[in-house]
Symmetry: C2
Subunit: 333 residues, 2 copies
Amino acid sequence: MSGTISVMQFGCGPIGCSIVRLAARRVSLSVCGAVDIDPALAGRDLGEVAGAGAGLATAVRSDAQAALAELRPDLVFHTTGSKVADVYDQLALIAAAGANVVSTCEELAFPAYREPELAERLHALALRHGVSILGTGVNPGFLMDTWPLFMSTLCADVRRVRVVRIQDATGRRVPFQRKIGAGMSVAEFDAAVAGGAFGHVGLQESAAMLAAGLGWRLDAISESIEPVLLDRDVRSEHVSVPAGTVAGLKQVAVGTRNGEPAVELEFQAYLGAPRSYETVSLAGTPPLEVTIDGGTPGDTATAAIVVNSAAAVAAAAPGLYSMKDMPVVGCTA
Amino acid sequence: MSGTISVMQFGCGPIGCSIVRLAARRVSLSVCGAVDIDPALAGRDLGEVAGAGAGLATAVRSDAQAALAELRPDLVFHTTGSKVADVYDQLALIAAAGANVVSTCEELAFPAYREPELAERLHALALRHGVSILGTGVNPGFLMDTWPLFMSTLCADVRRVRVVRIQDATGRRVPFQRKIGAGMSVAEFDAAVAGGAFGHVGLQESAAMLAAGLGWRLDAISESIEPVLLDRDVRSEHVSVPAGTVAGLKQVAVGTRNGEPAVELEFQAYLGAPRSYETVSLAGTPPLEVTIDGGTPGDTATAAIVVNSAAAVAAAAPGLYSMKDMPVVGCTA
């Protein structure tokens, strides 16, 4: 890929704004515009909305189709929803406009798992319009799927993969702290879990992607979610958690193969975790244990992985991709 | 890639034999033959030579050209030498026979660095014959180049990369222990270094590949090598190292960018190292520190990475590749 890639931001929430700030600093990218459904943002200067300074000289639009037709971006950073069914029409619109897509939609990290039909339709759309579509992010998209798969390159055989991600949520955004249940009573937490739309989206996608990359056919993937309770009070700047109420969540997905657990993904995010880290453990030949000491800050890393993927997605042959199928991306300039 | 990939082994030294043993166990690969220059191996059963059991039913050949013409492998595992100039004719022969190549030739991990003309010729040959050629291995090829590049995907920016690999050589093969100088006097070590053909080949290739992946133009890459001396006696099963003699080596490559160290690669392999590990440290946003606790056994992992790469290389568009340009490989079945 030579020349600058013109990029449009689709969705100006916190992650979208982080992406715009980072993309604005990259010499290989040129931010040509942004869209968002919030009427309060329409017409406002994108640089100001995103905190990216005055250099962007473009306003946030509300009509995505018109913006795509007028700006004709090479690539769109898409950050509006977690479910493929919810964002399918947006992705189809972008593809029809001839733009490549990098999306943080969690289910799109491995859409064949939950939405095989929509995944096939997206792949067909990508081929028809000559564009590439990638679902990515730090988790799903990297820490619990692509990273363990990448490390397994060192192994003659792998019998079992375990990934543990422990995050002290104290320094994270308040919406993230709320999202993990911090400050809830146990009854509120249980009600939220029973209500469905609660917890981290993407563990099962990660398990499915990792298994597919290893050539494994899983029998099933199960998932559990439970509150993390501490025997002491903890607090962040905005949320207090008295002892015995919910400090955060522990979510586990287990993929079984030939009746045995083969993929185990454990995600814990709570206020007061003594140490943040991610560890990949591969039971195989050789066994490997790899740890990111101090952990990976989710928001910064998600914006980075999205922006870093732009050049590879723009250069890829048309189609729908998961991270396991991409070349090594790396931090590009 | 569907169907079985037929593979031929080119070079039946210890690594070549490890590759044959592993490839023989893979359902996606079919070992069709092997060549070696050692007359003592010619005509001997490959399964017996490689310790792969009786199932291979093929003899080691000495005439590579005839073997390639007769066996017509899809892909050749090539493990004969460290320098591109030394193995160029072999690679050209394999390419001309229409076979893809995965080679452990250290300089071939990033041949543009030391042998840009030969690299261009190999790329042209690959295109002409419709084959793909990959230089890989655990180091160079993974731990000090592809791995830190892969981890940098999580970073918004990277200013500096440091990789440290410490290996306790006690359990390694005797030739490896000799190769790192274990048991030499300091004078012998210095003479060996002055003689040139001593030390680990590939640190500079790793630095150059990593920089290229990050889009960095380095001013220069320097390399140093010195003995590791301990104040106590150490020994392996076959080598004794009295205090004050050489237990192994410490080799460092530093790539500078805009006058500052930007890539620092440190490799230490010696008898009696208290702990084996590899650590990647990325100075950037966010900073990252990632460690393989216990380290990576070089011989097992090199055979694995070579065999794991077969399907991706067979499926790649024709050309000469480095690991940074490959899709995520993973441990395949």
